[in-house]
């Protein structure tokens, strides 16, 4: 089993695992408290502070670990919300067709015609910025993309004879969607999930950078960039660490998604 995993997937799995482990174990592995001021402003890296300190003297490694926890948690939950709503509505539109399809598709077109960042900024400026609100807003906005994909995939599947056979048997939407379509649509959706998770990480980071995401003193990767952005003028690289973290997480998650896609497509000769 382990031997069959290609090298790229192995690397991806390792880094993804590492980030998720750090997120889960944050309170136990972080060397200091999350908002604890432990040194001078922008200290260089030293044995006490491996990545140095930030703009008000907090340990940067600690901030990174806690920040990763917040970012990954929010991105994961938002991705799940986006996939559950997007794919179920997409499948429903494809199977039901007619006015259900028209209504859902046109509504999605409407939402997608507004850039999602701007729409998110508008919504968040009138709503209280709490984690649940953030997660739901991000998930719902992103579910429009998932809707389009899953509807397109499901439309191809609904014309297959086995779906027709299920309809002739008298099966309801629930069986057709979850038992006939979902198993056959899984591979493209899994691949998309990897991609969308990364977009979520970028989305929450962007929002925090603009000040409408996670509120201080809570840490997240976008927030860390914002707090330390000024440092770049003085040659302090503190803002680059979260950037590197986001990039490596993005690449490693996609390596894993690619591998899962390959595995599921070859399974039992299905799609």
């Amino acid at each position: 089993m382990i031997r069959n995993i290609p090298l790229a997937a192995m690397v991806g799995l390792m880094f993804t695992g590492l980030y998720f482990a750090m997120a889960i174990l944050a309170p136990w592995i972080a060397p200091y408290g999350m908002a604890e001021i432990v040194g001078d402003v922008w200290e260089p890296s030293s044995p006490e502070h491996l990545l140095g300190t930030d703009n008000i003297g907090r340990d940067l490694l600690t901030r990174m670990i806690y920040g990763g926890r917040t970012t990954i948690f929010i991105a994961t939950v938002a991705t799940l919300i986006s996939f559950c709503t997007g794919s179920i509505l997409g499948f429903w539109a494809a199977v039901a067709g007619g006015w259900v399809d028209q209504l859902l598709s046109r509504f999605v077109d409407l939402v997608m015609s507004i850039p999602s960042l701007i729409l998110a900024l508008v919504i968040l400026s009138v709503m209280p910025v709490t984690v649940p609100v953030l997660v739901v807003v991000m998930g719902v906005l992103d579910s429009t993309r998932v809707f389009r994909l899953s509807r397109a995939v499901a439309v191809d599947i609904t014309v297959m004879d086995y779906v027709e056979a299920a309809k002739l048997r008298g099966e309801g939407y629930r069986w057709v969607i979850f038992r006939e379509i979902l198993p056959n649509a899984l591979s493209p959706l899994v691949a998309e999930m990897g991609l969308r998770f990364i977009f979520m990480v970028l989305f929450i980071s962007t929002l925090s950078f603009l000040g409408l995401g996670i509120q201080p003193p809570e840490a997240d990767w976008g927030g860390i960039v914002k707090e330390n952005a000024d440092g770049i003028n003085y040659g302090i690289g503190a803002a680059l660490y979260p950037a590197v973290a986001i990039a490596t997480l993005a690449i490693s998650v996609n390596l894993v998604a690619d591998w899962v896609l390959n595995r599921t497509t070859s399974l039992k000769g299905g799609r």
Binding site: R179, L267, G269
Partner: protein, 548 residues
């Protein structure tokens, strides 16, 4: 420089391999042709016959030193005009392909570029190979069009592929192959995708073109009756091995091997027609139907009846509306006019309005078993679902019934946890039959259920269906274009043409003269397994048209 004795094509101990990747395993090399040898003289036609997977196309393509889709020639020699073409590479092979050896594929529609005119494609190879100038090649193409019996040979080349019919396009492809004056043409199932009435014209055109141009040909098909009309010799293949090799006359009249005998005697099911008595189970009255967004009826005033436990065969060519009739009866396409009644009650034209009993008693089996089963469900789930859905069976009771059904379709209960991809074509169709039977239906609609199967496998399916009819007393509405199948299983027959039933009655009435024109054409177009049949039919038709 060659002597007249040396054959045009010599194949010696040809071995062909492929690399496959089993699910979850490592790629492995397998051999798909195990050492086949034959000779082909100038001007002769060799028929390669066998079921799917027998390696006939692969062997045919080896005459061009070509392996399709990861197939590699791993051993042996192929000599064309005294050269071993497996040893020459690159530019020599390019001169060979499309010059000395050309190829006619099964689907002309998929092989022609839809964006280019037919003439440009027909002369392309000949001009590219430097055999002819453009104008000489076009002249030759027009001659070939004429010889192949294409209408308006002067101008047909300026049309696009979608502007001619399927049979005409297949003849254009033959012209394409003959245009560079090749020594050898490989015909890969050139008439399989055509209707019988079209097939006969294309066959005759191919046969005359071969005779007049004096090329040698390899003719690949799974239909022994077809190959008997065109070839001088026949090689029977099975699983990459040669079974029997002889003259056409010998293979047809005195086959030596058991496998060849089975192929020759296929479709010899003897079915006694049942008397047309009792109240009809299904009554189709004055049905007209059209597809959404179109303004012509694909079904026009169709009236047929089907009695319990009997079989009604609906015969016709593609486009005759026979599958549409099935869609109307199942409720997938609500009829515009007319009435359906089933077992004494009126059937709602629309599927969602039907009761669960209506749905249960009317089951359907599809042509392509591959796509009629969810690839992510096991055989047990596929057969078990109707049991659960209609009868609320669970656990051991359901499992016992699934095992019984698997016994009924002559498959063991070892198949219960298999996925469709792990079954052969015939087994897949059997599972579909079991799924229909699980609902304990009174009527099963069979839409071309044997068309995609090899003759011997199709035979097995037909026998199974007949046995099940005896045991379960189920009626079949059997849709097919194959008259041999109809003879084997029907009690009554409806012949459809352009959306209308042109002839309807019991089997003995429909298949006995006097015939209407269309039924006559249809019946006389079915290839018979004897040499010289094609010439007889054509001669008959010429006489008739001269008489009119």
């Amino acid at each position: 420089m060659q002597t007249t004795q040396s054959p045009l094509l010599q194949v010696r101990d040809l071995k062909i391999g492929a690399t496959i990747t089993p699910p979850g395993g490592r790629p492995q090399d397998i051999e798909i042709v195990h050492g086949v040898s034959f000779d082909l003289q100038k001007g002769r036609v060799l028929g390669l016959i066998g079921e799917s997977g027998a390696g006939k196309s692969t062997i045919g393509l080896s005459a061009m030193a070509y392996g399709r889709g990861g197939v590699k020639i791993t051993g042996g020699q192929v000599w064309v005009n005294g050269r071993d073409i497996l040893q020459t590479g690159g530019s020599n092979l390019r001169a060979l392909r499309g010059g000395e050896v050309t190829y006619v594929s099964q689907s002309a529609a998929a092989s022609f570029n839809p964006a280019k005119k037919i003439m440009d494609q027909v002369v392309e190879a000949a001009v590219h190979q430097g055999k002819f100038t453009r104008s000489a090649a076009e002249k030759r193409a027009v001659q070939l069009f004429e010889k192949l019996g294409l209408p308006d040979p002067e101008n047909i080349g300026s049309r696009y592929p979608h502007q001619v019919s399927g049979g005409q396009l297949q003849r254009c492809m033959t012209a394409l192959a003959l245009c560079p004056e090749p020594d050898l043409v490989v015909f890969d199932e050139p008439t399989t995708a055509l209707d019988v009435t079209t097939q006969i014209d294309v066959l005759m055109a191919i046969k005359e073109a071969i005779r007049d141009t004096g090329v040698a040909a390899i003719y690949i098909t799974h239909d022994l009756a077809v190959v008997a009309q065109v070839s001088d010799d026949i090689m029977v293949l099975k699983m990459g091995d040669m079974v029997e090799y002889g003259t056409t006359e010998q293979i047809i009249t005195a086959p030596r091997e058991a496998y060849t005998k089975a192929l020759v005697s296929v479709r010899s099911i003897d079915h006694q027609e049942k008397p047309a008595e009792g109240t009809p189970l299904l009554r189709v009255e004055g049905i007209s139907a059209r597809y959404k967004g179109t303004n012509f009826d694909v079904l026009k005033n169709v009236n047929v009846e089907l009695r319990p436990g009997q079989t009604l065969a609906v015969v016709g060519e593609s486009g005759s509306g026979k599958s549409t009739l099935a869609r109307v009866i199942t409720g997938l396409l609500p009829a515009r006019q007319g009435r359906l009644s089933f077992d004494g009650r009126v059937l709602s034209p629309d599927l969602p309005a039907r009761s669960r009993e209506d749905l249960r008693e009317l089951q359907m089996i599809y042509q392509m078993a591959d796509v009629a089963m969810n690839p992510r469900q096991t055989v047990g789930t596929i057969i078990g679902r109707p049991l659960e859905f209609y009868f609320g069976m669970k656990g051991d009771e359901k499992k016992r019934r699934i095992k019984e059904l698997l016994e009924e379709i002559e498959m063991g209960d070892g198949f219960i946890d298999r996925y469709p991809a792990e079954l052969s074509g015939g087994q897949k169709q059997r599972v579909c039959i079991a799924r229909a039977l699980a609902a304990k239906p009174k009527l099963i609609i069979c839409d071309e259920v044997t068309s995609a199967l090899d003759p011997l496998v199709a035979d097995g399916i037909l026998k199974l269906l007949l046995n099940l009819q005896k045991v379960e007393d189920v009626a079949y509405l059997f849709i097919t274009h194959d008259l041999a199948t109809v003879r084997a299983i029907a009690d009554s027959i409806a012949v459809m043409y352009k959306g209308e039933v042109v002839r309807y009655g019991t089997k003995s009435d429909v298949l006995a003269p006097p015939f209407d024109d269309y039924t006559d054409l249809l019946l006389s177009s079915v290839p018979e397994m004897r040499t010289g049949w094609l010439e007889d039919v054509i001669a008959n038709r010429k006489m008739e048209s001269a008489g009119h």
